[in-house]
Every structure is written in structure tokens, then in C-alpha cells.
């Protein structure tokens, strides 16, 4: 949310203001064309204030109204009272080029793009409020999904716990694997050969869908080792390609527990110098990978959460839930 961001009212302020506003807009809007349209609207409104209000300063607010699924912009200046909406110019977009006036294009653009516009003069200040409703496709969905990688020889108590603990916290757990073209695969647990069905693949999650995830977990057991299989020695395992994308997204928590760290060895540059704990059996691997080992049960390093053994799965999951709830 941007609240009354103050700026000098001059054209040279535009690049910085537009950059700040665009960063804000991209928090809520996923559609590139709409992001650009809203940036254009903001510029047109700002240029009107800068060129015609005689105000030395201006203030900008931008917030997402959850209930209305709308973005609300407010532009304030302390110049002469002026309602741009009253003088809405006639712009005939079908006119011949020779008769196209070059004024009014800005107001035309923002009145066309925005859904609601309201002007008021209050306590010596002009306020222009502009609202844009977002469709479900245009909106970035809140990050509510938790992805847990899965393969055979998983650690049963851990996976059973993950099956409900995230949903209990209002999140949505998704078990992800490599399906090899199958609609579903059944894996078996390490201790009791307990079956577990998985029908979602991490390979088909695109960048937009990845933004719906709050965390990706590499669990204990042999999941990490099985997923680091590659049929082409010239290529990284698909699970590592997926994790590379996950590590690029700083808002996405990466959780690695116990032997999960195995899956990082082909892409060890992503954990080099990161604070982590691994299973005692993997201390040598951690050293080879350049991990900055911390001797604690659960370790948090920014967007990276790690835990020592599968036995720590409760504390590990609770830490991840806590980080998501406090973000």
C-alpha cells in the first residue's frame, strides 16, 4: 500500500514516481497490458496536476480494496481548485489525422481505462480518486498454496502431518512430483510401505502459478534422492530446474528438511553461504556445497528454512506457517 507518497510537482519527478507506482501495481495485477494501462493513467493524471495546478507538491496513494477487488488511486495537490472531469474533452478517435487535436488525449485515456473517477476539493486541496476493478484473471492471487515434493520412500509421519497441518492453518497443501506422463502415481513410504497417491506435477507449474505458492518443501526420506535423477547427463534434473525458479522468487519460502538437502547438490550455488542445518549424515555434503552450517534443530535464513531430521517436522512446519502468517 502507498499512503500519501509526497513529491515535488514537476515533470522530472515522473520517472521515480511511475517506478514506485508500477512496483505497487505489480503487487496486485498479473496482466502486463493492464499494468501498463494503469501506469499510463497515473502519468496522465500526474502530468495534468504538474502542468496546470500550480501546486508545488503532490501526494499519491494506491491501495488494493479486497472486498471490491479494486485498485484505488488517489492524487492530491494544493493548487488552484480544478476538476479535470468537468472539462472532459471531445476526443474523436475515428477522426482523420489532420483534424486530430493533440490536447485532451491524457484525460481521454484515463477516463476510458478507469472504472470510476471522483473529484473533490477539500481543505484547500484537489483530490482525484480513480478506481479500477480487477477481474480474477488480472488479479494476483494471494499466496496460499504449500508445495511438498514427494516420491517413494518418503517418511510417513512427516507426510501425514503435512497433509493436514497446512490446511488447518488456512493454507492449501499440494503434493508435487514428476509424473512421467501419468495422470497419477502411487508412491510408498519408507517405514511401512504405506501408499500415497500424487496427481500434481511441479513441471507444469508456470511462473504465474508459482506466485500462488507461499512455500515449497523438500521433505525428509528418499524423495530428494529420487527426484535428483536425470535421464540426460547433460541436463539438470527437472526438480532442480523447478527449484532454480523457486529460489529466484524471494517471496516464496523454501523449506529443506533432513535428507532434503540432497536435491540441492546439482544446484549447490543456490545454497552456498546460506545458513542451514542438515541431517548429521549430510554434514560432508553441506561442506562440499558451501553451506554455512548452523548446529540447531530449525534454522531460518530469510526465505530459506531448514531442519535437522524428519523428527523435527512439526517444529519445521510450524516455523514455516509462522513466517507466512507474519509476512
Amino acid at each position: 500500500m502507498l499512503k500519501n507518497l509526497e513529491s515535488i510537482a514537476e515533470r522530472d519527478s515522473l520517472p521515480k514516481l511511475l517506478e514506485t507506482l508500477t512496483n505497487e501495481i505489480t503487487q496486485y495485477v498479473s496482466d502486463d497490458k493492464l499494468i501498463n494501462r494503469l501506469k499510463v493513467c497515473s502519468e496522465e493524471i500526474l502530468v495534468n496536476i504538474i502542468d496546470y495546478s500550480n501546486s508545488k507538491k503532490l501526494w499519491i496513494s494506491c491501495e488494493f480494496l479486497e472486498a471490491q477487488k479494486s485498485l484505488r488511486f488517489e492524487f492530491i495537490d494544493e493548487g488552484t481548485p480544478y476538476n479535470p472531469l468537468e472539462e472532459k474533452p471531445e476526443v474523436d478517435i475515428d477522426a482523420e489525422i489532420e483534424s486530430r487535436g493533440i490536447g485532451g488525449l491524457g484525460i481521454f485515456l484515463y477516463t476510458t481505462i478507469m472504472d470510476e473517477l471522483e473529484y473533490r476539493f477539500e481543505n484547500g486541496r484537489n483530490h482525484l480518486i480513480a478506481i479500477k476493478k480487477l477481474s480474477d484473471v488480472e488479479m494476483i492471487k494471494p499466496r496460499l498454496k504449500i508445495g511438498v515434493l514427494i516420491e517413494s520412500d518418503f517418511y510417513e509421519p512427516e507426510i501425514e502431518f503435512y497433509s493436514h497441518c497446512f490446511n488447518d492453518a488456512g493454507l492449501e497443501v499440494h503434493f508435487l512430483t514428476r509424473l512421467w506422463g501419468n495422470p497419477e502415481l502411487t508412491f510408498t513410504g519408507h517405514e511401512d510401505r504405506k501408499p500415497f497417491k500424487c496427481s500434481e506435477s511441479f513441471e507444469t507449474i508456470d511462473q504465474r502459478q508459482l506466485k500462488e505458492f507461499a512455500a515449497i518443501i523438500i521433505p525428509a526420506g528418499y524423495t530428494a534422492d529420487r527426484l535428483r535423477y536425470t535421464e540426460d547427463v547433460e541436463k539438470l534434473p527437472p526438480a532442480c530446474e523447478f527449484l532454480k525458479r523457486c529460489f529466484k522468487d524471494k517471496k516464496l519460502i523454501k523449506g529443506i528438511i533432513c535428507h532434503g538437502a540432497w536435491l540441492m547438490s546439482p544446484i549447490s550455488e543456490l545454497v552456498r553461504n546460506r545458513k542451514m542445518v542438515v541431517h548429521n549424515n549430510l554434514l560432508g555434503d553441506a561442506k562440499c556445497m558451501g553451506i554455512d552450517y548452523v548446529n540447531e534443530d530449525v534454522v531460518v535464513d530469510g526465505d530459506l528454512v531448514s531442519a535437522r531430521t524428519g523428527g523435527e517436522h512439526v517444529k519445521f512446519a510450524q516455523k514455516i506457517i509462522e513466517l507466512i502468517q507474519n509476512r
Binding site: 522530472d12 519527478s13 515522473l14 511511475l18 501498463n36 501506469k39 502519468e43 488525449l105 476510458t112
Partner: protein, 106 residues
């Protein structure tokens, strides 16, 4: 200082690049003005937008200005524009006066 006009001649090339907001657009307009003086030499005017990241009405006005001043005999191209850039041209109806293509071949 960024320059936009690359080449003046029968095919005159203008390289639109980066963010052309209202703080930048006046410089583009200034660069386009000398073209008017030499309009008899110009047959085609090519706005290359492949490196253009952003444009709003101030920049579009410069394109309209060029098209108006050069007259009906000069064909004006807009090439390599992204979907978001084209969207703004279409909303203003200016796209109709331009030959829009992915690339320019003489």
C-alpha cells in the same frame, strides 16, 4: 542525453527506446522538428519501437505531430512494438495512421 533520430533520408529512422514519459517526450519532439524542414527528402518515416518499454500520451503526441506535419505522402511505420505499447496506440486511435509491422524491410 538520449537521441532518437538515427538517420534522415528517404527512409528516416527514429529509434524509440526506454521509457518515454512526459519528462522525456519534449526532447523527442525537439528532435522531430528539424524533420519538418526537410520533409521533401523524406518518403518513409520509421519509428522503431523494439527497445521501447513505455509510452504515454506525451510521446504519442510526438508521433502524431510528425505524421501531421509530414503530410499524406509520407508513410509512417511503427515497428517491433510490444503488445502493451500497441495497446496504447490503439486506444487513442493513432494506430490507424501508422503502418504497423514487426520489422521494416525496404
Amino acid at each position: 542525453m538520449a537521441t532518437y533520430v538515427q538517420e534522415i533520408g528517404e527512409v528516416t529512422k527514429i529509434n524509440l527506446h526506454g521509457h518515454i514519459d512526459a519528462s522525456i517526450a519534449p526532447a523527442l519532439m525537439e528532435e522531430l522538428k528539424p524533420l519538418i524542414e526537410r520533409k521533401d527528402e523524406i518518403k518513409k518515416l520509421v519509428f522503431d519501437a523494439k527497445d521501447l518499454e513505455y509510452i504515454a500520451s506525451a510521446g504519442i503526441r510526438a508521433v502524431v505531430f510528425a505524421k501531421q506535419k509530414l503530410g499524406a505522402n509520407v508513410e509512417v511505420y511503427l515497428i517491433g512494438a510490444s503488445e502493451a505499447i500497441l495497446d496504447v496506440f490503439k486506444m487513442t486511435g493513432i494506430d490507424k495512421f501508422l503502418t504497423i509491422k514487426d520489422s521494416f524491410e525496404e
